[in-house]
């Protein structure tokens, strides 16, 4: 059922088997996975069904360098469904190599393997509405599907790996009815967890403090508590809960909030293919089950190890939008419309320099002189994105010249000094606000440079094309918009050593017996992949663990439903 937290009696203590804090992709997936297994579940969600400014303002915080990281209240949503409300929908699993301890990536290595997570990925795909768990083009599209580039074969650069796209699915709206109907789930909307109260010995959670913006306060006492609040809020709540552990819950070794990661991403270089434009598949394919998907370029694991590379992918992309020299009406149209595009999606249309009147004029000229492409694009966009339930994932331009740039998206090496901390200032409920100090390493840029070199070398060797990029401006190209927005990773990382990690292989906080973390906060490394699908899979795995740990001997039966 779904209730409003303001209907809970002031001062009450709710008892439950599992309390999940946070109703986003991880929290909802976890609650649904636990339902029907003989346990009672309380899901605390700060927001309600729609966004609300006062609730959203609870996110506000400081950023150490605003050129490097977006403001704390962007790319996140406090409502049922969480940040899936602004999600782009890109869904693919982490690679097996991501879980390995790699010498080229210091502080890498998960205490679980790809195989441990694999059983949960198909269900994660289903929840994300991203179709089958098939990420090889041959398997997903059939053996006769055309390759990314005809005439390009390489043992170093793989081009048959796919990324799939969710609708994108807003988990709140999509699963609202399931949550309402479930007799064993109580979703409380408007319920902000303001503190984790430990027992005096600090070894287990006694109860959670909950507050609503209307002033109601109550508590939840659970056999197991799961923090599923995203990579930033999870660390914030752990650090802010200081009544028994003065350094914060789970923070005995000063690891909470550290190793904060996003992704290194940007458009780089000029790639020209030699063949005919129709021999290049730069856009989206549709799988038989109706899912948009797209091929990427990636360095095979053996070559990553050999060349000491961090994991990374490259997609075929158009040239920089803000530079009118592309003479493309669609791109110039996007540039001119940027004021109407949300912060999250318009960010890459604002590259820091204030455009001059001349630049505006040249963009306008591009639109006027390219009317056919511009109107065709607009018609397609309205039909396949604005009005469609399953949205066309991104802007794809007609390939006339076989010229592209590469859109890079790669992991960053974890570092302890990239971190979030608490400030002296507090939010409306008294919780200290966050300060975000995201950092990257020179090695991240160098790894991406060597990745580009390998791609260039393989293109040239095969005769398929040519990639040129400027090594001197690579760092600027990759950091022009700062850390890739919305991917908040690693602040309560998983590991077997409590000195360098916060949770164990079961996502349980090392020092607290009944406290767990679901979500990307628990990832020790960031992978080339976007985090959503993997955080859903990890939440489902945690659900399985909790059901076994807490459940009655005979699971899979719900007590009789009162109709």
């Amino acid at each position: 059922m779904i209730l409003d937290a303001d209907t809970v009696e002031h001062g009450a203590c709710l008892h439950t088997d599992v309390c999940v804090v946070g109703g986003g992709a991880a929290g909802i997936s976890l609650a649904l996975a636990l339902s029907g297994r003989g346990l009672s579940i309380v899901l605390l969600e700060s927001g309600r069904m729609a966004e609300d400014a006062a609730t959203q303002a609870l996110y506000a915080g400081e950023v150490a360098d605003e050129r490097l990281h977006s403001p704390a209240d962007k790319y996140r949503q406090r409502c049922l469904g969480g940040s899936t409300a602004t999600w782009g929908g890109r869904s693919m699993p982490f690679d097996p190599i991501d879980f390995e301890t790699r010498s080229q990536v210091p502080a890498s290595g998960w205490p679980i393997s790809y195989e441990d997570l694999l059983p949960f990925y198909p269900q994660a795909n289903a929840l994300a509405e991203a179709g089958r768990f098939a990420y090889d083009a041959g398997e997903a599209l059939g053996a006769t599907a055309p390759p990314l580039v005809r005439g390009f074969a390489s043992d170093v650069v793989r081009t048959d790996g796919l990324e799939r796209f969710s609708c994108p699915t807003n988990f709140g709206r999509r699963y609202e009815r399931r949550l309402r109907v479930a007799p064993d789930i109580r979703v409380l909307l408007g319920a902000n967890c303001t503190g984790i109260a430990l027992r005096p010995d600090g070894r287990s959670v006694r109860e959670l403090a909950v507050a609503t913006l209307a002033g109601r306060r109550f508590r939840v006492a659970a056999r197991a508590t799961v923090l599923a609040m995203g990579g930033l809020e999870t660390a914030r709540l752990l650090l802010a809960s200081r009544d028994v552990a003065p350094q914060g819950v789970g923070n005995e070794h000063d690891v909470v909030g550290r190793y904060y990661m996003c992704h290194i991403a940007g458009n780089v270089g000029t790639l020209v293919f030699n063949g005919r434009p129709q021999d290049v598949r730069h856009g989206y394919e549709i799988t038989p089950e109706g899912i948009y998907c797209r091929r990427r370029l990636a360095i095979v694991p053996a070559e990553q190890r050999r060349h000491g590379l961090a994991n990374c992918v490259a997609r075929l992309h158009f040239s920089r939008i803000t530079d009118p020299r592309h003479r493309n009406g669609v791109l110039s149209g996007l540039f001119l419309a940027r004021k109407f595009i949300s912060y999250e999606y318009g960010k890459r249309l604002h590259d820091g320099n204030d455009p001059t009147a001349g630049v505006y004029a040249r963009h306008l000229w591009n639109v006027v002189t390219d009317p056919f492409d511009t109107t065709t694009f607009l018609a397609h966009w309205v039909a396949r994105r604005t009005l469609a339930q399953r949205k066309f994932p991104s802007v794809i331009l007609r390939n006339r010249t076989n010229r592209f740039s590469l859109e890079m998206h790669g992991e960053q090496i974890p570092r302890a000094d990239s971190r979030v901390t608490l400030t002296e200032r507090t939010d409306a409920l008294g919780l200290p606000r966050l300060r975000i100090d995201w950092r990257y390493s020179r090695e991240d840029i160098e790894s991406m440079g060597r990745t580009l070199d390998l791609i260039a070398q393989e293109l040239e060797r095969s005769g398929a094309g040519r990639l040129d990029y400027d090594r001197a401006t690579l760092e600027e190209d990759l950091l022009r918009f700062g850390a890739y927005g919305g991917h908040h990773i690693g602040t309560a990382r998983m590991g077997s050593d409590p000195r360098t990690s916060v949770v164990d292989a079961d996502c349980r906080v090392h020092s607290v017996d009944n406290l767990f973390v679901a979500g990307s906060a628990a990832f020790p490394t960031s992978s080339q992949a976007n985090p959503t699908l993997t955080l859903i899979a990890l939440a489902l795995r945690l659900g399985q663990h909790l059901a076994v740990r807490l459940g009655p001997a005979q699971a899979a039966h719900v007590p009789g439903v009162a109709p």
Binding site: G36, A126, E129, C167, R173, R174, E176, R177, R178, V181, A182, P183, I286, T287, P288, E289, G290, L387, A388, Q389, R390, H557, V558, G560, V561, P563
Partner: protein
Amino acid sequence: MKVLVLGGSGYVGARLCALLRDSGWATALCASSRQPAPGVNGLRVDTRDPAALRRALAGVDAVVNCVAGSASAIGQGAALLTQAALAAGCRRLVHLSSMAVYGPAEGRLDESCPLDGSLGWYAAAKVEAEEHVAAFAAQGGAAVVLRPGCVWGPGSALWVERIARLLQAGRLGDLGAAGDGWSNLVHVDDVCQAVLAALRGTDARPGVRSYNLAAPDSPRWNEYFVDLALAIGATPVRRLPPLQLRLDALLAGPPLKLLELAARRLPGSARRLPVVMPPNLLGLWERQLQLDATRATRELDLQWTAYQTALQQSAAWFLQQQRRGRRGMPAPLQGSDSPT
């Protein structure tokens, strides 16, 4: 054991008559308002004619009520049948009800859920029929009530052919939240096995025992739609907006229904017309009702047909009968089990 099957030419009834014939322990008398199928011991009976019912029940050990049709055929039909059975001394009855008797209730429902006939005339008639069965039991009858979900398998006009044709036409696909309800699919053979188990059960004490019937692995509707579309090659599957479904059911539905009724007078033409999407299906597809069939599994000792097996059989049947239709051969007559 001599068993009278009423509604013997319907989807469940016809299959049941064949299984009883081959059972070795029962003789089936297959009664229908239509011409009986060849090869079974058939009998034409109008179930609303008490005298005809009494004649058909003479010397019968048990009666199975698979009658479909109008509200009166279901509701009053059950009243007449139970009275005639008591009069003829036939004390054992297996009655095919429906999950429609649970009304708009959601969640995982077992047989203790109270009955609610508020979801349209069909549900009201099914609830009324169950009341007559209860009265029959109160007067000494031993009744088993089976409440199946959506009965499918090869030959299912409603849950395979209709769905498959809608998928081929792009009028059905992945519906998102509008198709998130449980399908409660149950294979026609599993329903028949439940009837056989009820008939063979030695417990013939007066009273009513009710059983939900739905395969424990039956998926949500979206999953079924996508799987069936892939199995019959109706790809790529489309994600449909709820508005399109509503327009299809509410605007295109009535004229298509009139066309369908007109086409019934011209043999063979009905299959060339677009399928009607009845508005009540929209409610069904989003309803979070999951039948709990634990009792049937335990007490009737059912071995449920695996979903994947049923899916492959159903898709193969559909493709075969569509090929046959294209070659101009008459499609086999298919009964219907419920009006939804």
